[in-house]
């Protein structure tokens, strides 16, 4: 972790501080917009990875803060670790850039639609998105963990079957995150080499992370991060164990990584980031 951060610090900025931050987004256009919004000459540089949805933020800590940079990114339409984009900014994004939003923000758009014929009714729609599907996340996680374990073991042959099973389970959920995750799982199933499986697994893990976060499973799930994968751009995965077992490198670097976030588990943990 340490050597990794030291390795990418650009030398130009004084008082330079570097952070890895999560920024939602989909594609190359997103990358351009995000980086343009966050980068400010002489103050901050931002480099975002479309696969991992993680960005390297380097900034002059005497001139600005990570908070300021991430606020600009959110005003440009992209949800991130500190700020959720204004509804208008998100709606103004290209269709291909309209990533799946965090539930806290999605709730607003869902609530606004029925309110067209009058104000004051927007609270009524709030319960619906999450309701009724609570138990299904529990049926999705076991095949995912099985898939992950196959990658840890470097067992490429075991991957397609579990990935197909996972895709099927995800297809049974109605949440939009699940639909996306199902496609990514199917992509993992189609990959032929271990390397390719891992690349696609990183993308799958992202969308499954969002789904898991929204549905809050009854048992604790750990969201873990490997900073080295993909030439230092990093990647994430979900695990039911807190201890790190890295699916991206297997034996080579089994315990490299860290817990980024704890999801689900006992009911009180849902809003514990602050």
């Amino acid at each position: 972790m340490l050597f990794h951060i030291g390795g990418i610090t650009p030398a130009q900025l004084p008082n330079a501080k570097t952070e890895t931050v999560r920024i939602a987004g989909n594609c190359g256009i997103c990358k351009q917009t995000i980086e343009a919004a966050g980068t400010k000459k002489g103050e901050a540089t931002l480099s975002w990875n479309a696969d991992t949805h993680l960005a390297e933020l380097t900034y002059d800590s005497a001139a600005t803060t990570a908070d300021d940079v991430l606020k600009r990114v959110a005003y440009a339409g992209y949800d991130n670790a500190r700020y959720l984009a204004p509804a208008e900014a998100y709606a103004a994004l290209e269709t291909c850039c309209q990533y799946e939003r965090a539930q806290q923000a999605a709730v607003l758009t869902a609530g606004n639609k029925p309110a067209t014929d009058g104000h004051g009714t927007s609270h009524a729609g709030h319960q619906s998105p999450a309701a009724g599907q609570e138990s299904s996340i529990e049926s999705v996680l076991p095949p995912y963990f099985k898939l992950k374990d196959a990658l840890i073991a470097g067992n490429a042959k075991g991957v397609p079957a579990t990935a197909t099973e996972l895709s099927k389970q995800l297809g049974g959920l109605s949440a939009p995150e699940a639909k996306q995750a199902a496609t990514h799982a199917a992509a993992v199933a189609k990959a032929t080499t271990l390397e390719d499986q891992r690349v696609r697994f990183a993308v799958l893990s992202e969308s499954l992370y969002r789904l898991t976060k929204a549905k809050a499973p009854s048992s604790t799930v750990y969201y873990q991060h490997c900073p080295m994968y993909n030439k230092g751009k990093g990647a994430n995965w979900l695990s039911k164990e807190k201890a790190i077992r890295n699916p991206y490198y297997g034996d080579q670097m089994l315990t490299c990584g860290s817990v980024v976030e704890t999801l689900g588990g006992s009911d009180a943990e849902a809003h514990s980031h602050e």
Binding site: L84, P86, A102
Partner: protein, 710 residues
Amino acid sequence: MGIHNICGLLLILLMTDALSATAQRTVRYDLDITDTVVNYTGKARKAIAINGQLPAPTLQFTEGDTAEIHVHNHMHHGTSIHWHGILLPNEQDGVPYLTTAPIEGMSTHVYRFPIRQSGTYWYHSHTMLQEQIGLYGAFIIHKKDERPVHEEVMLLSDWSDENPHQIERSLHRATDWYGIRKKAAQSYGEGLISGHVGTKFVNEWKRMHAMDVSDVYYERFLMNGRAEQQRPQYRKGDRVRVRIINGSSSTYFWLTYSGGSLTVVASDGADVEPVTVDRLIVGVSETYDVEVTIPADGAAYELAATSEDRMGQVSLWLGDGVKQLKQPLGKLDYFEGMKMMNDMMTVGGNMKDMGMDMSLQQMDMNVVMYPEGNDPKTLNYAMLRSPTPTTLPDKPFRTLHFELTGNMNRYVWTINNKTVSERDKILIKKGENIRIVMTNNSMMRHPMHLHGHFFRVVNGQGDHAPLKNVLDIMPMETDTLEFNASEEYGDWFFHCHILYHMMSGMGRIFTYEDSPPNPQIPDPEKGLRKVYADDRRFYLGAEIGIESNGSDGDVVLENTRWAWQTDWHLGSNKRRGYEVDTRFGRYLDRNQFLMAFAGWEGRYREGGHADRNWFGQTNTKDNRSAFHIGLQYTLPWFIVADLRVNHKGYVRLQIGRDDIPVTARLRLRGMYNSDKEYTVGAKYILTKYIALSSHYDSDMGWGGGLTLIY
């Protein structure tokens, strides 16, 4: 016997019970006022703290309490506290020298009054410009049977690093330094680029300076003294009542919420039937109670207050977790506003509404400047409805017509073209009904505030017209207010709550007939002179060029009506000559375009020769000393014509134009007179007080150097 005893005991018990239920609870607060130093921007600045904090602490009461507030003034100068919106005996109202004794330096004053209302109010100094530097706080009164609810106070204010007296002086000098700082100077160059140069020309033709929605540049906007605050305790579904108080000196704020719509439930302390909107504007000194809902867990939703000029915003975050932003309000399109103003303003300086019958904030002309258009559902006064009838007692009405008037260029603000000191108090009889029909014939909006009374805003809601004590009236609007003279006695101020408008005299004093002597004002005549002195003050201004060919300069000392102007042209040697001209004059017309003056001029120049002027008169330039009388008139496009005759009968006509904004900072000037003298010059504004300058003078030739602007 035994039964009697028991009955007697019961009776006593019942009586004590009843007594304790009606007994007033006295709630005491001690407010220690001290000078302090604050640092909002990296610069230490003088301010005023109350109990060590800025803004002042929130005072909480319950209806039926008696408030006992001990104000300890630890400063070396006087202060005062006015309880804004509170119904109270006149001597507790806190207008120094008018209703209440001033709180002298190093002394204590005790306010004591029963609380006979509930709602969101505030308190602030009514002494000079102290409110601008921190002397304001929230005053919250809970209903007797009120169940506890989630509630927050959002006390809004504006902060400038500049001394407020300098701000005030600069406004009277029509500085556009604030416009430069806001990037809102609206020069010809900017007009050319954006295709609005014609608009700018017409605007100046109609003698209007750059268009803006607020006059002062504030470095910071604050909410409870901070840029933002977070309240993480709220969860999904919680409904939070936010008591919003605009305690700023001159800033209106737009309120928007990222978690959904806003439900307005009270205004100026009085309940209204809930009305749901996307946004509302809170006028200076107004209060609104607004309810918002937390839509989901895991996020903090932003209640944003944005200054009307869109220069800044403050945020109250409700909830815990990642912060859900509200789309910020876009930058104003000033040239569109200018175009609109051009249509509304006559060359004669009157506002015309083109038959639109504007009232009650229903047609916000500023919308032309808003990039977001008029789509969001916006609150206006016609939407406010009192939950209970507010009809006045069946008494005769007396109707007063107030025309709000002003001169933007000289920052003179008046009612019916008179300041507070230029008009007698308005006598009212206890019990009578007063109706005020108010028309805003000025270019700015004005939040008009009545002390010690609620008025009903006649807004089409019939018997349920809402009660308020501040009414924001936009340019060209006509609104009607009604109130019953329900107090016992005393003097009650009615004024514009924009601090710098109030101090220039935009107000009236209502006085109850046959009021008893006020023990706090032992010498009412002397007190009134003190009150009137506020709008009679003179403001100093100067522009002094120090250039290679000598010094050109002028110094002015002006108040509402009178002006003393001195200017000079001092050459670098005797051949170039020396000229001094000083005059004392009075502005005559409502728009203050015309001034009559008398004065003296002197000049000396070696080797000067006699010239014939336009009028065929000859005049030596080498040695002259003459008294003169004359007229100055500001023509369209701000060309000032000066026609004068001296005691020898010599006539001179001069026309000139200063400060033509070519770009935001580059200004041109020119002058020509009947003695065939002329000047052209340019300056480039570096800071508020310093400009690079150069000019050519027909007597003194070319020069370049610095111009100091004060």
